[in-house]
């Protein structure tokens, strides 16, 4: 089986230590170039398939500027067979659709049975490159994958995906397909120093993007998040100074008056049990025999 892993080197804002709010408080050293951890996990998932089936071939593709090279070397050191750098200097200006377009062309050249990528990149938090890539290649995709099991006959894949509130779904699909994996699917292995040194000597395939495809979405500006809209402080004069101070510290929300809001019940009588039961049913609790 041939697995293609798409990995992005993200420019991640890990802190805001700068003094200048016009620069969004981004100080020197706040932005770090790193392999997107979701993609790291995708590579690890691919390597685990290879651990089971050694004839598996893993290629890692990275679209990016000069910073992408370090991530590709790391991928080689972790155990990838081939690394391909699709060079585009201004790749931060590409939107997900354009990036998927370039990656699709590369994927067609390299060939694949399975494509793995991270669910999203931690710098743009869009989560679209994977689905768009699958659509452009005309293959199905599964998102939010947390476990992968190759079907025993080798033809298909079953993937477990995460739904809301801890629910899970299992999906089966024939290859070729794309899986967008969650960060916690697997903890990426740490390459040994010797493997890192060896990877530095191995060749990277490098291709230039001749002409960037057009964007569908344009980022106009970045800004610091606005403070959440909160209710005006309604400082109740009847409250004690301590209570008023507490109210202000909580963001000025008016304290709910307990006597009006809450129904107060006492003891463990039948009426109390009835009241609780009514509330449980109203909230949609389904009782089961313990």
């Amino acid at each position: 089986m041939k697995i293609l892993v798409c990995a992005k080197t993200v420019r991640y804002l890990r802190a805001q230590t700068g003094a200048d709010p016009r620069q969004l408080n981004i100080g020197p050293g706040d932005l770090v170039d790193m392999l997107n951890p979701h993609d790291d996990a995708a590579l690890e998932a691919a390597l685990r398939i290879k651990d089971e089936a050694p004839e598996t071939e893993i290629s890692v593709v990275s679209l990016g500027g000069a910073s992408a090279e370090a991530g590709l070397r790391r991928a080689l050191a972790m155990g990838a067979d081939q690394a391909c750098h699709v060079f585009h200097d201004d790749f931060a200006a590409l939107d997900s659709w354009a990036a998927a377009n370039i990656l699709a062309a590369e994927a067609r050249t390299l060939g694949f049975d399975l494509i793995l990528c991270g669910q999203e990149a931690i710098d743009t938090n869009a989560g679209l490159t994977g689905p768009y890539l699958a659509a452009q290649l005309g293959i199905p995709h599964v998102s939010r994958v947390i476990a992968i099991a190759p079907a025993p006959d080798g033809g298909g894949i079953t993937a477990e995906r995460r739904l809301d509130r801890g629910d899970r779904e299992t999906v089966a699909c024939a290859a070729p397909l794309l899986l967008a994996v969650e960060r916690d699917i697997a903890r990426a292995r740490m390459p040994s120093p010797t493997a890192m040194l060896a990877a530095c000597k191995r060749p990277l395939e490098r291709r230039e993007v001749a002409e960037a495809p057009g964007n569908r979405c344009v980022t106009l500006r970045l800004a610091k998040p606005k403070a959440k809209r909160r209710a005006e402080a309604q400082l109740d004069r009847a409250l004690s100074a301590a209570d008023r101070a507490r109210l202000m510290m909580k963001g000025g929300r008016a304290a709910p008056a307990p006597a009006q809001n809450a129904a107060l019940k006492q003891g463990c009588g039948e009426d109390v049990l009835d009241a609780v039961e009514r509330m449980l049913i109203a909230a949609g609790v389904r009782v089961t025999s313990p």
């Binding site: 804002l13 805001q16 969004l24 710098d123 743009t124 938090n125 869009a126 989560g127 679209l128 689905p131 768009y132 699958a134 199905p140 599964v142 998102s143 939010r144 995460r162 809301d164 509130r165 801890g166 629910d167 899970r168 779904e169 299992t170 999906v171 089966a172 569908r216 979405c217 344009v218 980022t219 106009l220 970045l222 800004a223 610091k224 998040p225 606005k226 507490r246 709910p256 307990p258 809450a262 107060l264 019940k265 006492q266 003891g267 463990c268 109390v272 049990l273 609780v276 039961e277 509330m279 449980l280 109203a282 909230a283 949609g284 609790v285 389904r286 009782v287 089961t288 025999s289 313990p290």
Partner: protein, 332 residues
């Protein structure tokens, strides 16, 4: 200019248990705001299932009309149905929740209908141009994004940033729009083998639908079994305040509050919890709060919907018994 749909706002609703969830209502409210801004109508698209008395339910939440679109739970089939619907009517905006369903279907729709999509929006501004605001860099920054061209734009909305509170009072009846099916079978490649509901005992406490929380008042180790049995009977996850975790009664993953998890439960029963600010920081988003405490002046009663002055150790076994009896009656 045609009087067509080029100012309309659509929202994607998933008929869950036959009713609209709080998030669905928040989405409709946001849709209403944008439709009023654009001078268009608000339509809900329901790809599968039926909403009980949809005309009134959607109307009361602000919708003008709705499309029972079909397509069901299968993301590929659903996206294909939505794509043909969107291409026929060309709404200005099509919004969905950024939950498991919306986040899976909308990128498929965007690819199939060749439309721009912005995921996880925290705000949308509609004037001459539509500007989507979304959190990037893990929430450190907000990016303002636009889709040039003026055609339909798709967006998924972060459920945590939807407007809260009651729907606008104008009660209307939403009109049912029949969707003509072109009869062509939709080819699906993914095979959904199974869906598993999370086991309440093992689900992340922050994601649990119902929670039973214990505090220092009841968190003796020998009591845990009583509360665990109660939680199991009502299909809830068991959590606790920091004292309960510090005493070793519960693991840290089950801690609620400022140094633990924030709950998003629909209902929580808080037993023997005094209600310090450190704890209540973690229950801000809980729908219904029932507090049980022996101390009539416990601060937890200030934020509770039902306050019970009683010993939880006495009340909870009785409630468990009551639920067990109910389950037996229901099963018979």
């Amino acid at each position: 200019m045609s009087g067509g749909g080029d100012r309309d706002v659509w929202v994607l609703l998933r008929a869950g248990d036959g009713g609209l969830s709080a998030a669905d209502k928040g989405l409709l409210r946001e849709g209403r705001r944008l439709a009023d801004k654009l001078g268009g109508a608000l339509a809900a698209v329901i790809p599968g299932g039926e909403i009980v008395d949809a005309e009134t339910a959607i109307g009361a939440a602000g919708g003008d009309s709705f499309f029972p679109a079909g397509g069901g739970d299968h993301p590929e089939r659903c996206a294909a149905v939505l794509a043909s619907l969107v291409q026929r009517h060309l709404p200005r905006l099509f919004l969905a929740l950024a939950d498991a369903f919306g986040a899976d279907v909308m990128p498929r729709l965007a690819a199939a209908a060749q439309l721009p999509l912005v995921t996880n929006c925290v705000d949308i501004e509609a004037s001459e141009e539509i500007i989507f605001t979304k959190a990037v860099q893990g929430g450190r920054l907000h990016a303002a994004i636009t889709a040039p061209g003026g055609g339909p734009g798709l967006a998924t909305l972060d459920p945590h940033h939807l407007p809260e509170g009651d729907a606008p009072s104008a009660a209307r009846r939403a009109e049912r729009c029949e969707v003509a099916s072109d009869g062509e079978p939709i080819d699906t490649r993914l095979d959904i083998v199974s869906r598993v509901k999370a086991a309440p005992a093992s689900v992340d406490i922050g994601e649990a639908e119902f929670v039973v929380a214990i505090g220092s008042g009841v968190a003796a180790k020998e009591n845990i079994a009583t509360y665990a049995r109660f939680a199991e009977a009502m299909g809830a996850a068991l959590g606790g305040s920091r004292p309960a975790v510090d005493s070793g009664a519960l693991p840290h993953a089950r801690q609620i509050g400022q140094t633990g998890k924030s709950l998003t439960a629909r209902l929580a029963i808080l037993c023997g919890i005094s209600g310090s600010d450190y704890f209540t920081a973690g229950i801000q988003k809980v729908g219904t709060k029932i507090a049980v405490n022996t101390d009539r002046d416990a601060p937890i009663f200030k934020s509770a919907d039902l306050a019970i002055v009683a010993d939880a150790d006495e009340l909870i076994p009785r409630l468990t018994e009551r639920l067990a009896r109910r389950a037996k009656e229901g099963g018979a």
